[in-house]
Amino acid sequence: MQRQNRIYLFVIILPALIIFVSFFILPMARLALETLQGPQGVGVYLTMLTTGRYLETLFYTVALSLGVTLVTLIISGICGVFLQRNNFFGKNILIAMLTLPLAFPGVVVGFMIILLVGRQGLVGSISQAVMGEKLVFAYSMTGLFLGYLYFSIPRVITTVMAAAEKIDVNLEEAARSLGASTWAITKDILIPALTPGLISSGAICFATSMGAFGTAFTLATDIDVLPIVIYTEFTLSANIAMASALSILLGLITWGSLILARSAAGETIAASG
């Protein structure tokens, strides 16, 4: 019966295996091969790393992602701990507001930014009324930055709140009994306890920003991020080999940062969006 059980187990996992191999393993293998099929062969990787345009894109994308990650960690860190530890009227509504955008695709986020700081945006109308000048950020790096911030803050806040909940209250009480001030407690107990969670959510934030496509697509800025360049190489320039090589580069960077996240936090996490 044990052998029969083993056969059944194999049979029921088979559909998932077939799907996974057919639609992920094989295509990715083919993608890797495709990078070598272009006019330059293996040289495509060299071109990728030495052409000014691609390097510039890579630089902008990494800088943007790092900047967003840093700002998000600070904002979400403060807000997350604050919400977890305090109770006040309207707290649940505030939490709902802050976690709402979790399900928004990048395109919708882009649209939200346009509504806020676009040509007919709220900030523009207010600044027009107050200063006489219409401030429009949406189509520059600032707009992109705000967009990435928009989808990053909810993700990191939920992780920070969960991590803050796990902190042992006894640790802080022990510190207080030994005479520690609020700042000392924050510095010596709170932040160290949150650090694994901050590292892991920071890495996820970075990976998500690196791979984000919809937001940049909607905002259609002059500055291209890596996913947009991949898209244009494939659809407009039909440079499949380069598009594939860039995709692999992007994939390696995001995968690498998620492995870092997991080793800091100890669980597997996803980058989506």
């Binding site: 059944y8 996992i13 799907i19 709220l122 791979g211 594939s244 994939g251 989506s272």
Partner: protein, 647 residues
């Protein structure tokens, strides 16, 4: 009254600002979608025309998104749930690698995956042009979420023990999967389903690359409308999107909240629990109704040459032989790791003995018969009651598997409920039961199928001391009144002595001694058994003339006539238990000792005494006398109860 500090207000301010940043544009877009003219503002009035126009333009997109979402969900359920079960059940290197691999699609930007799919399958025009190619991308992207969600739930409960419980009642692979695994994994399946559907509806990165003008989804349509339509249309379309996504989001948050099934009032629980006035033995006095369990003796059990080496090389059991007579209760006793549970599981059929071992139930060779067909009743250490069924469904589960009619099941259920005195628990949920109640339900479930043999794996270990004492008595009477063959595993020697007709003491995979409780207690075969079954004191001395001389005193050898010392004249050891030494008046004892410490335990005083013996002796005193440290006392031994250990 809490007065909020400046720090509080500044943090609150930051949080409100962040919240506003996120929510204001949402409100804006909702307003814009119902305003006649966005630039003119609310003055221009509210209207539904934009929403209607969006519906005319994009309704097919909306239906297509729902179609893809539901199909994606269906595939995830059919392929993902079974895969998650296999991966949670078999935690070996292969499944771990698979778990890692499955998550990789989440690490790679959707754009890249879509590109890869296009390169390899783009040539199949029919596929390329249909919504199926989008579906393929969505499945790859959502499968890890469903699988992880289900694995998390299965791993958080002791699913393998529940499955063993079901097997012991006769359930085969598919019965276990659909009746036990899936219902208990339901929270994970639900959470996973909501997440899969939500992710599919909102997916853009993959979909943008894979779509064609004829196969658009909602996010693709949104991108279109933002780019090429007026703001009001984009906003109205966004409203429809919110309308779909926000309930899903709320649903996911609601599922994630842990929900408690409220336990009953403590008073109520106590009443049923402590009902030891009319124990199980009353079964005998009732008139036997048709279909009731007649006083049958069960079958005998014989184990020949069974050893067990596990896959990782651990030698759990050396070759053992054991015989249990029909109707007997045999207790396998030993410390952790001695092989007692392995022996029980081999009898049950949950483990196979190494080649050459065999097991007989009466005349039948059951060595190759799996547990589902062996007709054993098994009570597990943590009871393995099925959480997805109430008490009654648990008890009759084995009968349901056997295909008994509804009427037969109901009658047997009534018998079991009254035999175990748990009539009030008929419709209770498993989470609402106390430890003692769970144990009774577990017993009822095991006995309901009229097994040939009843196997109990440390059933009382999880309960507190007082409950253990009272339930021990009840189990003993139950086993005697049914007359079934029972094998009971425990590490508690008091339990073993109270329950067993025969005790099998095991140590490091071997049987150390088999015997009645009295034999084991008074005539242990070696030091291990002597020390495991109770406290042992050792007096070492030498034989000289007519006396056994030891530090502190001496005894006439002829008073020790039933002891055999062999040829040894020195380093002779005699052993005795604490209760066989009494404190007497000075001069009336066999020897003098000094009190090191004394513990008053209520019914007796435990004394640790010293007097040039290799180790301090533990003896007991009764009555009201109290002792002080350093006090010298006289001790008299009950000479009949001395024993030697001949190893």
């Amino acid at each position: 009254m809490k007065k909020h500090s400046k720090l509080f207000y500044s943090q609150l301010g930051l949080t409100l600002l962040a919240g506003a940043f996120l929510v204001v544009p949402v409100i804006q877009s909702v307003l814009a979608g119902v305003t006649t003219n966005y630039i003119a503002g609310l003055k221009s009035g509210l209207t539904l025309r934009w929403i209607v126009e969006v519906w005319d333009l994009y309704s097919d997109t909306i239906f297509r998104s729902i179609l893809i979402g539901l199909t994606c969900l269906a595939i995830n359920l059919a392929a993902g749930v079974p895969a998650a079960y296999v991966m949670a059940k078999k935690k070996n290197r292969l499944t771990r690698v698979l778990e890692e691999l499955l998550v990789v699609p989440l690490a790679i930007p959707g754009l890249a995956i879509a590109l890869a799919i296009l390169i390899i399958y783009g040539q199949y025009t029919a596929f390329r042009r249909s919504w199926m190619i989008i579906l393929a991308g969505h499945v790859i992207f959502t499968l890890p979420f469903m699988i992880r969600s289900v694995i998390a739930v299965i791993s958080s409960m002791n699913m393998s023990e529940l499955e063993e419980g079901a097997s012991s009642l006769g359930a085969g692979f598919w019965a276990r999967f659909f009746q036990i695994v899936v219902p208990n994994a339901m929270p994970g399946i639900l959470a996973g389903s909501l997440m899969v559907f939500t992710l599919s509806i909102g997916e853009f990165n993959l979909t943008w690359m894979l779509h064609t003008p004829l196969t658009k989804t909602i996010p693709v349509g949104l991108a279109d409308s933002y780019a090429s339509m007026r703001l009001e249309i984009g906003s109205a379309y966004t409203i429809i999107f919110f309308f779909m996504i926000i309930p899903l989001l709320l649903g996911m948050q609601w599922i994630a909240k842990p929900r408690k099934i409220h336990p009953n009032e403590p008073a109520e629980i106590k009443k049923v629990d402590m009902n030891t006035k009319t124990p199980y033995a009353t079964v005998k006095s009732r008139k036997e109704k048709p279909g009731e369990l007649k006083k049958k003796s069960g079958t005998s059990i014989q184990i020949h040459g069974c050893a067990k080496t596990f896959l990782d090389g651990t030698r759990a059991l050396e070759s053992i032989d054991l015989a249990v007579e029909a109707g007997q209760t045999v207790v396998i006793l030993g410390p952790s790791g001695c092989g007692k549970t392995t022996t029980l599981r081999i009898i049950a059929g949950l483990e196979n003995p190494d080649k050459g071992g065999s097991i007989y139930f009466g005349e039948d060779d059951v060595t190759d018969i799996p547990i589902e067909k062996r007709n054993v009743g098994m009570v597990f250490q943590s009871y393995a009651l099925f959480p997805n069924m109430d008490v009654s469904d648990n008890i009759v589960y084995g009968l349901k598997i056997r295909g008994d009619s509804h009427e037969k099941r109901r009658r047997r259920l009534d018998e079991m409920l009254s035999m175990m005195q748990i009539e009030d628990l008929r419709h209770r949920h498993i989470d609402q039961l106390s430890g003692g109640q769970k144990q009774r339900v577990a017993l009822a479930r095991a006995i309901a199928v009229r097994p040939r043999v009843l196997l109990l794996d440390e059933p009382l270990t999880a309960l507190d001391a007082r409950l253990r004492d009272s339930l021990r008595v009840e189990i003993d009477m139950l086993l005697k009144s049914i007359g079934i063959t029972a094998v009971y595993v425990t590490h508690d020697q008091a339990e073993a002595m109270a329950l067993g007709d025969k005790i099998v003491v095991m140590d490091h995979g071997r049987i150390a001694q088999i015997g009645t409780p009295r034999k084991i207690y008074f005539e242990p075969i070696n030091r291990f058994v002597a020390e495991f079954i109770g406290t042992v004191n050792c007096l070492a001395g030498r034989l000289e003339d007519d006396y056994l001389i030891f530090p502190g005193g001496r005894i006439l050898i002829r008073d020790l006539s039933d002891l055999k010392f062999g040829d040894k004249k020195s380093d002779v050891e005699v052993h005795f238990r604490p209760e066989h030494a009494v404190v007497v008046e000075p001069g009336q004892g066999h020897f003098k000792m000094k009190v090191v410490s004394s513990f008053f335990m209520g019914d007796r005083t435990r004394l640790i005494v010293n007097g040039d013996t290799p180790a301090p002796l533990k003896i007991e005193a009764h009555g009201r006398q109290s002792f002080t440290k350093g006090q010298t006392i006289d001790i008299k031994l009950d000479l009949q109860s001395l024993f030697t250990i001949n190893e």
